[in-house]
Symmetry: C2
Subunit: 260 residues, 2 copies
């Protein structure tokens, strides 16, 4: 099957215009079919503050009331997404910005209220992988904002790591998929204080050991859980690397490659 690379960039890259341009320049040179999933960054929090909308985080997740949903729709779906798309267009990369609502590609349901009411937060229930493939087949490069939609017509805020993993998993019916989580570190580190201690290959057993030892910290755990879940579900390769080292990581000389 045709290879497809699914890349995810997070807030640390988005918040730094120089780092973002550097990443997008690398992204535009990658060979073959690819798509990008981006997170939010601090702009949403800043816009919310100026608009008088209070930001509440629980366990690193944003509580999304109606006012905050409007803010993330503006910032993720409008500002961040369209700035990435227009930068990529100038780099001769035919990007098309999408939320889950566009062409109905990613349906979700509002997360049920248990002990915490996350508000307008979506858990993915269906991805139209055929439609996504039709974009790549027609030489477009989908750029996803972390927004899905429910059959009620509500847009829903969805974690970008989870979204990238879910898209990668659904695309295995059409492509040999590589999933790359790009962030501000050089990979999974054996010693969190030493950027040169990148673990080249990580198995589930080693991951368990690192969790026990406390080497893998809180923010990395949901990322690695998503990453190993994608690998178990049939994604061919999962890589965690620095946003500046994507080509090297894809050729196996940088970052952390997960193995089963």
């Amino acid at each position: 099957m045709n290879p497809l690379t699914v890349l995810k960039i997070g807030g640390n890259v988005i918040d730094n215009p120089t780092a973002l341009t550097r990443f997008l320049t690398l992204f535009s040179t990658l060979a073959g079919d690819r798509l990008l999933v981006h997170g939010g960054g601090k702009v949403a929090t800043e816009v919310a503050r100026k608009l008088g909308v209070e930001t509440t985080m629980v366990d690193g997740r944003r509580i999304t009331d109606k006012a905050m949903l409007d803010v993330v729709t503006m910032v993720y779906g409008g500002l961040v997404n369209k700035q990435i798309v227009s930068q990529l267009q100038v780099l001769d990369c035919n990007a098309i910005g999408l939320t889950g609502a566009d062409a109905g590609v990613i349906k979700a349901q509002k997360r049920p209220v248990t002990t915490i009411d996350y508000g307008f937060v979506g858990d993915i229930i269906e991805i139209d992988s055929g439609r996504i493939q039709s974009f790549t087949r027609e030489n477009m490069v989908p750029v996803f904002a972390p927004l899905t939609f429910a059959e009620t017509g509500d847009l829903l805020n969805t974690n970008a790591d989870t979204l990238a993993s879910a898209i990668a998993v659904d695309m295995i019916f059409h492509n040999d998929v590589t999933l790359v989580y790009c962030f501000e570190k050089k990979g999974v580190l054996a010693n969190p204080d030493d950027e040169s201690s990148v673990i080249g290959q990580l198995t589930p057993a080693q991951y368990a050991d690192h969790k026990t030892a406390g080497t893998v910290n809180k923010g990395m755990i949901p990322k690695l859980d998503n990453a190993f879940a994608a690998l178990s579900a049939g994604v061919k390769r999962v890589i965690i690397c620095h946003a500046d080292e994507v080509p090297a990581a894809l050729s196996g000389t940088a970052g952390t490659t997960l193995t089963l």
Copy 2:
């Protein structure tokens, strides 16, 4: 050739959630290929005010400095566009939200500074009508925000009436095109104070007479200029009607139809 209906809705519909839902419900039931161009509405002005960005209008056009460009990118490209798309999805209309940057469909250039510097305002230079047709052919309904992009990578604010007219004109190479401007009046009125005085058919000579008589007011002139220009350029039908009367206007029993 296959018929295509290009509809434009403006701020008055967008600012009124009930009117917008009523329009989108009608829009979703229209037969055949169609696409929607939406304007901005007062939300952008309101968001700008809360963010401390000053709104300057000259001759009814917004002056778009960098801060205002970010606001319209958020509001037009994010909030308004995605709310329309998600409402249409629920109505079983497979909408896809687009700015000119997405898939590179509408290139523009920053308007040259003469006596007035409009800032980040775009004059359209190229429309990829083949790409737009490929969306409709794959059963998607493009929903355009009034944003284009320049080869510098800048998004540009573009008047929605002009955008709708330009798209309609470029689509004549692929479709028999009908262009419909929907607004809050029942059509072009012979007497501006009398909603029952709709002019059923309007020729350029009659338009000239109404301008001389002052019956056609300031805001209507650029709209009608765009409309007649589209007709002269090969658009089959141009209609101006109330947003609630689109089906009747398309069947010839409401609104104003322009003729040459």
